[in-house]
């Protein structure tokens, strides 16, 4: 399974390389592999099918333009695409809210100078995604909502505190404790970080 995964990442890298060379057929390969995940995240974040379609187009356009700048050492292609998806969706949410959210989106990528960070560390299998979904349902209400508002709506911690009517310190604690529980649900295959 892990091997199959690595193969997917390698295929993705080769595809992005072809895109960087201007090969438009590479783009359709990438689309066929990831459009569903991209569209699903955008639908979840925007709750609007038409806008989600626009996000998919934005993400593939951006991927095409930035293929030469893609850095495999920083994140696997799928993580790169999902980060763009989240960023473009948050842009649209913000435009809707006309509210500035203090978010450094790229900070969701592990420390770039971290020598131990590897592609595998961001590897999520479909099975693990299922587990994660289940584990989200088992979190406390505040933990789950705080994480969802942060990740899917890009709210700042103070906005979340206001929305959930909880002290800011509680929100910080709940976000961390909730994510730690989700980490347990992901279990093995978490990469070299957990092995240590």
């Amino acid at each position: 399974m892990a091997g199959a995964h690595t193969a997917t990442y390698d295929a993705d890298r080769a595809t992005v390389d072809r895109m960087a060379r201007g090969d438009t057929s590479a783009l359709s390969d990438l689309y066929d592999r990831h459009a569903r995940a991209i569209y699903s995240l955008a639908v979840r974040m925007l709750a609007d099918a038409a806008e989600a379609e626009d996000v998919v187009q934005d993400v593939f356009t951006q991927a095409w333009r930035q293929a030469t700048r893609y850095d495999a050492a920083r994140a696997p292609v799928v993580a790169w695409l999902m980060i763009m998806t989240r960023a473009r969706s948050l842009d649209r949410l913000r435009r809707r809210r006309s509210r500035i959210v203090a978010t450094e989106l790229d900070s969701s990528i592990p420390h770039p100078r971290d020598p131990e960070a590897s592609q595998e560390s961001l590897a999520i299998t479909a099975e693990q995604a299922d587990k994660l979904r289940g584990a989200l349902g088992e979190l406390s209400d505040v933990q789950r909502k705080a994480i969802e508002l942060a990740y899917y709506e890009g709210l700042s911690q103070s906005d979340i505190a206001e929305r959930l009517q909880q002290p800011l310190g509680t929100i910080k604690t709940r976000i961390r404790s909730g994510l730690l529980k989700l980490r347990e649900a992901l279990g093995g295959g978490a990469g070299p970080a957990v092995a240590r």
């Binding site: 187009q57 969701s108 999520i124 990740y151 911690q157």
Partner: protein
């Protein structure tokens, strides 16, 4: 905030992984991560969880028509320069910036040069104006001093113990004119006149002091004021001995001995 403890910073790992920290918190945690292995590992693991959240949503198939739409949109993108290896790409990306910087710098230098030139011109103008103002001030100061000196001289003569009054009568050439002098042999002479007729261009009134039994001595030219009045101060060296005071019409600038019509004359 500036001195957060390890435990406080560790509370931020979740928000960091989700990208929702304030800038201040993010900087504080990143500084901490450079020295704390424990927190670094935690951030890395939670970042993986965050990455997983992107996939932990209900999976929905996009509409079939979207594929063609997206691929066509990208094909309509302006052509990109052909691929080159990444380092070269980086250099190429940097080159336009460097070029731009060079252009910007040269524009800045040019603008600065022009600005300096403008400033220099402005300074020169101001310096010239300052010189003018100083010169005018100097002139006015001299006039004021002269005026003060005159006033002082007048008062000294008038207050002198040996002062004597000399009335000058209008002569045939200017019967309406009248003059008066105050003469102190030790302090000098003040001459005043009224109703002196205006003169033709090139002509000027000249004041004479004629010591008894001697030739006339020039006591100076008379600058006529608008209404025909005049005042002249004469040094005591010139007016030590006075038999007659007279005024004649002479070529502008004066002469050694009177040549023209006498308009005023009087004796002590």
């Amino acid at each position: 905030m500036t001195s957060m403890t390890h435990d406080e910073l560790r509370e931020l790992t979740g928000g960091y992984a989700l990208g929702v920290l304030s800038d201040e918190e993010r900087r504080a945690l990143e500084a901490h991560l450079s020295t704390c292995r424990e927190c670094t590992l935690e951030v890395r693991e939670l970042a993986r969880v965050a990455a997983g959240l992107a996939h932990a949503v209900p999976q929905v198939d996009p509409p079939a028509a979207l594929r063609g739409r997206v691929l066509n949109a990208v094909r309509d993108e302006p052509a990109r320069p052909a691929h080159s290896p990444k380092p070269a790409q980086a250099v190429r990306a940097a080159a336009p910036i460097a070029t731009w910087l060079a252009v910007a710098a040269s524009i800045a230098a040019l603008a600065l040069g022009l600005y300096t030139l403008t400033l220099r011109q402005r300074i020169e103008t101001l310096q010239a104006q300052l010189r003018d103002v100083n010169a005018r001030f100097e002139r006015e100061l001299q006039i004021a001093r002269a005026s003060a000196d005159r006033a002082n001289h007048v008062s000294v003569i008038l207050a002198a113990a040996d002062v004597r009054r000399i009335d000058l009568a209008g002569q045939a050439a200017a019967p309406q004119a009248a003059g008066r002098a105050y003469w102190s042999p030790s302090r000098g002479l003040i001459f005043t006149a009224t109703n002196l007729p205006a003169l033709a261009p090139g002509k000027q009134y000249q004041l004479w002091v004629i010591p008894p039994g001697k030739n006339p001595v020039s006591a100076g030219m008379i600058d006529l004021e608008t209404d025909g009045r005049a005042i002249v101060l004469v040094d005591p060296s010139t007016a030590a001995q006075v038999g007659t005071v007279a005024v004649s019409v002479e070529p502008a600038g004066g002469v050694q001995q009177p040549t023209g019509d006498i308009v005023l004359a009087g004796t002590p």
